[in-house]
Amino acid sequence: MKLLIVDDSNFIRRAIERHAESFNIKEIRTANTGKAALRALNDFVPDLITMDITMPEMDGLTCVEAIRRVNATSRILVISALSDRSMAVEALKRGANGFLLKPFNEDSLREAVADVLED
């Protein structure tokens, strides 16, 4: 399985990467902005994308929408600290497949990834 991690926090990218190693993920790429994620998708088709919302240059919801214009197959898990219910609803409306609230740990990430992939 291939994973693209999109988050402006290096700490979070590394944390997801660390946890993902135990999820049978073979290839991992990272992007620190929405624009970098779109560039990465030019030559990389991930099975799963984890997407932050609050990022400079292009926020995660705009990026999800942009991804869906060119890629209908990758599963997208939005991971954000923004906890108002409307944020999760908006993420799904824009094309995400799931929403995980920060803070997370390995167990909650594993569960959210499994839900998004099985959905």
Binding site: A81, S86, K102
Partner: protein, 149 residues
């Protein structure tokens, strides 16, 4: 203001319980006195608040605490840049979680991280409430300076 402060206290408790899977002692919030800068520690992150509120949320901790917390969650690299990134992520998470109670109009900025204790400028016209947080004997502080628009 009491409701807002309870939200941030709950967010701080949840952060440590989820990420470190350990309990942090969160003390009673108190109003910052003009000459009290005890809450300024080695590393800090400021989140600007906009939308239906204005002001900022500020998290400050010692480098020692942040490095220990990083190791607890499995991050062995404690390069100074990563430590600052981590303090920004803590502030971002606790502030973002407050949206559940404060509503979708509570908008947060990306964190601005600060190294050292002398470079902080907080809005003077808004009262600052300080929430002390103790984890593994390390002190840290959450400072809430927000008001309704």
């Amino acid at each position: 203001m009491e409701t807002q402060l309870k939200t941030f206290v709950a967010g701080a408790v949840r952060y440590f319980e989820t990420v470190a899977q350990q309990h942090a002692e969160v003390g009673l919030p108190y109003l910052k006195e003009p000459d009290n800068d005890d809450f300024l520690l080695d590393c800090a992150a400021v989140i600007g608040i906009s939308g239906s509120y204005r002001g900022c949320v500020y998290f400050s901790a010692t480098r020692e605490m942040l490095e220990q917390l990083m190791k607890t969650v499995g991050e062995q690299n404690t390069h100074p840049e990563l430590v600052l990134d981590f303090v920004g992520e803590i502030a971002n998470t606790i502030a973002g979680n407050a949206q559940r109670d404060l509503g979708a109009g509570f908008l947060i900025s990306v964190p601005v991280v600060i190294q050292g204790i002398s470079t902080v400028r907080l809005p003077k016209e808004i009262p600052h409430f300080i929430i002390p947080i103790t984890w593994q004997k390390h002190k840290s502080f959450m400072v809430i300076a927000i008001t309704n628009k």
